[in-house]
Amino acid sequence: MVKNPLEVALRNLRLKTPLMTASGTAGHLDELTALKDYRTVIIDALGAFVTKGVTLKPKRGNPELRVVETRTGLLNSIGLQNSGVEIFLKQELPRTLQYELPIIVNISADTAQEFEELAAYLIDNDAGRIISGIEINVSCPNLSEGGAIFGTNPYAVENVVKAVKRRVGDEVLVITKLTPNVTDITQPARAAIAGGTDVLSMINTLRGIAIDVDAGKPFLGNVYGGLSGPAIKPVGVYMVYECFGKITECKNKTVPIIGIGGISTWRDALEYIMAGATAVGIGTAWFVDPGIFGEVKKGLDKYLAKNEKTIDELVGKAHYC
């Protein structure tokens, strides 16, 4: 049988395509089934599904306004609104089973201890073994360290990853999603690897503020938000390139990278792959065009067929020219 040229592997997790959802942009999957063509344009095109952020306790979310469009970007501050891990496990997770996709659960917490608790709760109560991976969102404030973002402090990153990895074990992937709001991305990346992460994903949103000049105040209820969309793509590609180029574990693919940030076309996806990403996450562009996963998959298929390559062979290609 001919090997599927789109197939990639994140450690021992095989994905039928390198495309994934970006956390928080596709709900818990069952919302998407309202789309008429969801099977062809989403389920068939995806390699894995990443849920929106789950927290230990239900979260109400931030006050309005929660989103504002900027030039080719989207500034959001949703505030991790979700119904908490208990309802997630009971109601939301089991519904994803029917789509036969690897499910990756994105988790957020205020302290390293809470991260550990949350990860343990998920693993211990996932009776159906639905969860294929846990993605740690280190872009949230660390309340035990005065509210500094975990992800900006390599020491804190290592601690969190270690705590989660200890509870998750080896059968479920531990993915660390890095924040781009740092001077040197390789530092938190190395810290996550030292903590035992299996996979790195980057980038989360960039911090930003937009001001309504007519009202003379910030647009967002939460004042600042996270910037996503095409505007941030070069930043994401740069950070993937840096990690792949400078970190041995990334270069030899023992710690593969999921590239995220502003992907809207198959060419954007290839940029990330050539910079060193094994898989890519698409988020904001999905809001603009629900057919995006299908389109990107089609584009990649065509490109691979024309050049007689596989995705695997193209990972990090830009470093070898």
């Binding site: 309202a34 080719t72 949703i78 809001f287």
Partner: protein, 587 residues
């Protein structure tokens, strides 16, 4: 004999009797095994043999009869043998004396109501494709007789919702000009609801609860074609009306919305890397361009072969109307305000005839119009402020299909903002458009948005109210008394007060009224106090900034009171709404 036993015996004999009734209706092969008339049986009944098909038709007829008699319509049928001679009057046979099991086959039925204000004195209906040829012929004859006043509607009864969905496709509209559709499960449910006793005599052996017919339609991504995009308002070019058409069936109901790209550029082009300085200039670097799609409610929808004069006269038997379906609309208008510094709305104004833009929809919860009648609402009020009136017009269009009495209250800053020149040149000159079948144009005229839309939808001018902070002199098609200087909430309050006074004088009972409001938050909030005072149930159409429109991004939230433990929570306008109970919102 104990009382318990005797009642059980009575029940047994009742069932035996009704089962034999049904056996008469569903003879031959089916009758011995008939215990329940489920979908499969019906399917079999129409596919198997003539006799069974006839039995199915008889059953359909009997159920329809319950509904039409409730609406006080007489039923007749067309005798095909007489009709051959083209003497229409001779071909009509009164069916009141005909028993259900003697219903002739391959005929078109006619229901008549002589006391109707607006016309539509006749309903012609036929079962499935049986009799449809005759139906068409009869429809043509009636049309000749009534001087093209369209005083008839055609209804085709089909066995299942699936077949009905298929018939309703826009591509099939030509086969059924001005055709309405009914499906069997729905008339079965409706007739049971209206006259349980008679229904039971017909088919008591239906032990299964009848499943609700749920209109299913997934969210589509579709490229639509712009028909025109014209400025509305006398002074500034601050409001626009965009009309587009879809190539496929687009099953959207009032309260639902679409998200539309604001330019015909494909999303890929908009974000692709500029390759030259020229590209750079025209690209987003210099001038902001929109990225996300924008949400809009539907202002008006047009249905193939239901032209405006026909719609205006349309008046359906109320109970039957709640189970009738049309061909899906394929042409839509959105009415939007151009924000001074709004990137998306400014881009939208640049769209012109023939441009193609991508839309997503239908989005939002469906409003089930038929349920409003089941909930006992006798009258519907719509109250709109500014562009908030637009989605309410579409709602009124639908309400009219369901024969609901409607009163509309329009609030506008200035009367002049409603005026525009409705021109025809758009569609006569079809540059850039290939096929204009099934598209509508209006007569060229000086038009008033909302007011004319409502009149076109068949609302009596006396039921249309307009308020404005500045009342200028204008020619009005509505009574002078329906104009009000001030805000729409003020006018509505005054209206309700005078209505209450009148009612008390005449010692009448208060009607059960439902009000829909859409407009600025302050206005909707103020209305909740007024409707509460007068005991009117109020629903609101909420509007928020959105990103995805399908419930995943959690951007478009509004605070509602239905959180856990009696606390408030953030609900999504896009999927939990946009229609909410006004009492549910934390204002």
């Amino acid at each position: 004999m104990s009382q318990k036993e005797s009642s059980a015996q009575r029940e047994r004999s009742f069932y035996a009797k009704t089962r034999s009734n049904v056996a008469k209706l569903v003879p031959d092969k089916l009758s011995p095994s008939v215990r329940t008339l489920n979908e499969d049986d019906i399917e079999k009944a129409i596919s198997d043999e003539d006799a069974n098909r006839k039995a199915y038709h008889s059953l359909c007829y009997s159920l329809l009869r319950i509904i039409l008699l409730h609406d006080k319509w007489r039923i007749a049928y067309v005798d095909p043998s007489q009709f051959e001679d083209n003497v229409f009057g001779m071909a009509l046979r009164d069916i009141s004396s005909v028993k259900p099991d003697e219903v002739p086959e391959n005929i078109a039925f006619i229901a008549q109501n002589d006391n109707n204000r607006n016309g539509n004195k006749m309903i012609l209906f036929c079962f499935d494709d049986q009799g449809s040829d005759l139906l068409r012929k009869v429809s043509y004859e009636v049309k000749k007789l009534d001087d093209g006043k369209f005083d008839n509607i055609c209804v085709m009864v089909v066995p299942s919702p699936e077949i009905m969905q298929d018939k309703r496709r826009v591509s099939k509209a030509d086969e059924w000009r001005r055709g309405f559709f009914l499906c069997f499960p729905e008339i079965r449910k409706k007739s049971e609801h209206l006259n349980e006793k008679e229904y039971l005599q017909l088919c008591v052996c239906t032990s299964n609860p009848i499943a609700d017919f749920e209109e299913r339609s997934g969210i589509l991504t579709e490229t639509v074609e712009v028909l025109d995009n014209i400025a509305v308002g006398q002074e500034s070019r601050s409001h626009y009306k965009l009309r587009f058409r879809t190539s496929h069936s687009f099953n959207i109901t009032p309260g639902q919305f679409i998200m539309t790209a604001t330019s015909s550029h494909r999303h890929e082009e908009a974000v692709s890397r500029p390759t030259s300085l020229d590209n750079l200039k025209s690209s987003f670097i210099i001038k902001p361009t929109s990225y996300l799609k924008r949400p809009f409610g539907i202002h008006r929808a047009f249905y193939p072969h239901f032209d405006l004069p026909y719609l205006k006269r349309l008046s359906l038997p109320p109970e039957l109307a709640t189970v009738l379906h049309t061909v899906f609309p394929n042409q839509f208008e959105i009415f939007y305000k151009v924000l001074e510094n709004g990137v998306g709305t400014n881009e939208l104004t640049k769209l012109k005839r023939g441009d193609k833009v991508q839309i997503i929809g239908p989005l939002g919860k469906r409003l089930h119009m038929r349920e409003l009648r089941e909930q006992g609402f006798e009258e519907i009020h719509v109250i709109g402020g500014g562009v908030g009136m637009a989605p309410l017009i579409f709602m009124v269009q639908a309400l009219r299909y369901y024969s609901y009495p409607v009163k509309a209250f329009i609030g506008t800053e200035k009367i002049g903002m409603l005026k525009y020149k409705c021109s025809r040149d758009g569609l006569d000159n079809c540059d850039g458009l290939d096929n204009l079948d099934n598209t509508f144009s209006e007569e060229p005229r000086d038009a008033t948005i909302y007011v004319d839309d409502l009149i076109d939808a068949g609302v009596d001018p006396a039921d249309i109210y307009v308020s404005s902070t500045v009342l200028e002199n204008h020619d009005w098609t509505i009574p002078k008394d329906n104009l009000y200087e001030g805000v729409v909430t003020g006018q509505y309050n005054v209206y309700l007060q005078s209505r209450q006074r009148e009612r008390r004088q005449k010692k009448q009972r208060q009607k059960k009224i439902l009000a829909f409001a859409c407009g600025p938050t302050g206005m909707m909030k103020a209305l909740t106090l007024i409707t509460a005072e007068f005991g009117i149930k109020q629903k609101v159409l909420m509007e928020k900034r959105m990103a995805c429109g399908i419930g995943v991004c959690l951007s478009c939230v509004c605070e509602t009171k239905n959180g856990e433990g009696g606390e408030s929570k953030y609900s999504r306008v896009c999927t939990d709404g946009p229609i909410f109970d006004a009492a549910e919102i934390v204002w």
